[in-house]
Symmetry: C2
Subunit: 370 residues, 2 copies
């Protein structure tokens, strides 16, 4: 161990105790460590690659009621940006190689390949070797999420943060936007910077527009990038519930209460009429019950249930990815496995074992103490 991790992370804990919470993984023959859960105040997702530290992306507080939350959170100008619905990826260049870290600090070989192909970031990293690009990987062809954006054909990487990889210190919003423009990096949508008071109406207008277009929501940020707050649309609450109740025994229990409460506070903040609350309630009920009914019927008919993804890449990357999922204990059901030029394109379902098994149990007359 060549570095003093304890003082680097500014914790009193014995470095050995600290390191034992990290998982060890390998990527292209190199050993690295990552922290899957927050420990001793160190962010989840922090990774150690040789001597290099890549800090986790901090979790972001959520507003349930926009107006007072903005007032309580910010005392200066507030930037408003779009929150995309994909997965959070940090990209750093270490020993000349781009590495893509998922939220938990895992170096995902598939994502790394995609980022290598998508991102022309060499000049950026030549000029900012100790920074990392924090962004959302979105689009239909990825192995983790399945939200579609009409503007993205395969996959896209949209930067929402540039941070010093070792300290985690963010670049200010304006400077980050400027860097993205200068180096030709895609940025998430930026809607301007407002006083806290003006930000309330601006955010509401954006939320209405994003909601109508079925998109996720907004992130509000202090101009130094240090303080952030997220707020989401009714459309994404329903989409989350639909997704969760397609696999109710895998996700439903965790998702339903939080989304219901987001809807309830949103209805109250908007001062909705009985008719508007009723419409919201009807759509909420449909988002919950209909996918559950469809899944029970699918299990009854013997069809596989689970999350279906399509991935595309060179044959080795794809086969490594599928092996990685299988090694994690996932049961994969391959629907399609084709070659497109030099690329392998696979559509597969991560079988939702809990939903399949519990649904079968109840359909077979199983009972429950509850």
């Amino acid at each position: 161990m060549s570095r003093d991790w304890g003082s680097l992370f500014d914790v009193d804990t014995d470095p050995e105790d600290l390191l034992e919470h990290f998982d060890t993984e390998w990527f292209r023959g190199q050993r690295y460590r990552h922290l899957s859960d927050e420990r001793h105040g160190i962010e989840r997702g922090t990774a150690l690659v040789g001597d290099v530290v890549v800090r986790g992306y901090p979790s972001m507080p959520r507003a349930l009621v926009l107006e007072p939350a903005i007032r309580e959170t910010f005392d200066g100008p507030v930037a408003i940006e779009e929150k995309l619905n994909g997965y959070n990826v940090r990209v750093a260049r270490i020993d000349g190689d781009l590495l893509a870290f998922t939220r938990s600090g895992f170096v995902c070989p598939y994502t790394t390949r995609k980022v290598e192909a998508l991102l022309d970031a060499e000049t950026f990293f030549d000029d900012h070797p100790e920074h990392m690009l924090c962004g959302e990987l979105v689009g239909p062809e990825n192995p983790y999420t399945d939200h579609d954006y009409s503007e993205i054909e395969e996959v896209g990487f949209y930067v929402f943060g540039i941070r010093h990889r070792e300290s985690g210190t963010p670049m200010g919003v304006e400077r980050r936007l400027d860097r993205c423009a200068t180096y030709g990096l895609d940025s998430v949508g930026h809607y301007g910077t407002f006083t806290p008071t003006a930000a309330v109406d601006a955010a509401r207008e954006r939320i209405d527009d994003l909601n109508a277009r079925g998109r996720e929501g907004v992130v509000l940020k202090s101009t130094d990038g240090e303080t952030a707050l997220k707020y989401t649309t009714s459309a994404i609450h329903r989409a989350d519930l639909e997704h969760a109740f397609e696999l109710p025994f895998d996700y439903g229990r965790d998702f339903v209460f939080t989304r219901v409460m987001r809807e309830a506070f949103q209805a109250v903040e908007r001062g909705e009429s009985p008719a508007a609350v009723d419409e919201r309630a009807r759509e909420l009920g449909e988002a919950i019950l209909q996918p559950a009914v469809e899944t029970i019927r699918a299990v009854d008919a013997g069809e596989p249930v689970g999350e279906t993804h399509t991935v595309r890449g060179d044959p080795k990357t794809i086969s490594d990815l599928l092996s990685y999922f299988r090694d994690q204990g996932l049961e994969l059901h391959v629907e399609r496995d084709e070659t497109d030029g030099e690329q392998r394109v696979v559509t597969f379902t991560k079988v939702a074992q809990s939903t399949r098994d519990k649904t079968r149990y109840y359909l077979g007359g199983g009972t429950i103490d509850e």
Copy 2:
């Protein structure tokens, strides 16, 4: 300790280890012990009063899909009875006194008084001194539940089981009905005894009727009373959700997933059309969202939120009951406190602190990591 509790309960555990799981309480100057949670296979609610054992009422499995559950559970005749929506009470006569035990084995002074006033059970206990009456206490005037039955003005006690208090062995269904008739005890509704195959249709017909009348559901029982299965109406799933989401941060999280899944399996078993599923979804959404919205608005307006009950009885019983709740850490908000002849009638709200405090926090701009 005068009895060999270990051999009585047929467990290998050291009797001292067993007894330390029991809570000690006092009722009218007598010490007793009760088991608030199942331990070592001994039912929750088991109580020890002096040398007398009063066994807990066993938890009852629930069917999510009626037809296969009946087929898997029963291999002989099945009695169908109504499941009432009140609270489970066991009544035993010990040293000449009737005692009413709640589900957790607590001797509730209020319930004991009500049962003494309601129940003319002296002859029954003269002839069956070692038995206990297991029944549902229902009606508007009780301190625990608030479901109204049109036929009950204040409070009623409906027997659904007669068991040997020490062994817990149930009396067969026919004999129990006969004992109720002979001794003038009210019984839960009994719909007849069927073959398992015929019981499926009979239960469905009853469920349709009960659902239309806003009632809870049915219990199916083997004729020896040993095996039981419950199944509930859509009306009670919605009523549960409405109740839970009136106090969302106290109950919503625990209630919502299970009720949604009962609705989903019921819709599938009934082979409902898209229109019928949509109607069920709409009603589900309304039962969840509307009470939550109303409660957030009530908190915003500074109104107390919680479960409101009315109790009636002699002044000492009522003041003991209110003290008991306050000693448990409940915050009570008294809405009405009147005298009706020699009886004190109090309407009070058990303040839902979690719902009040969390709702205030979010309305004040509090954020959440989620």
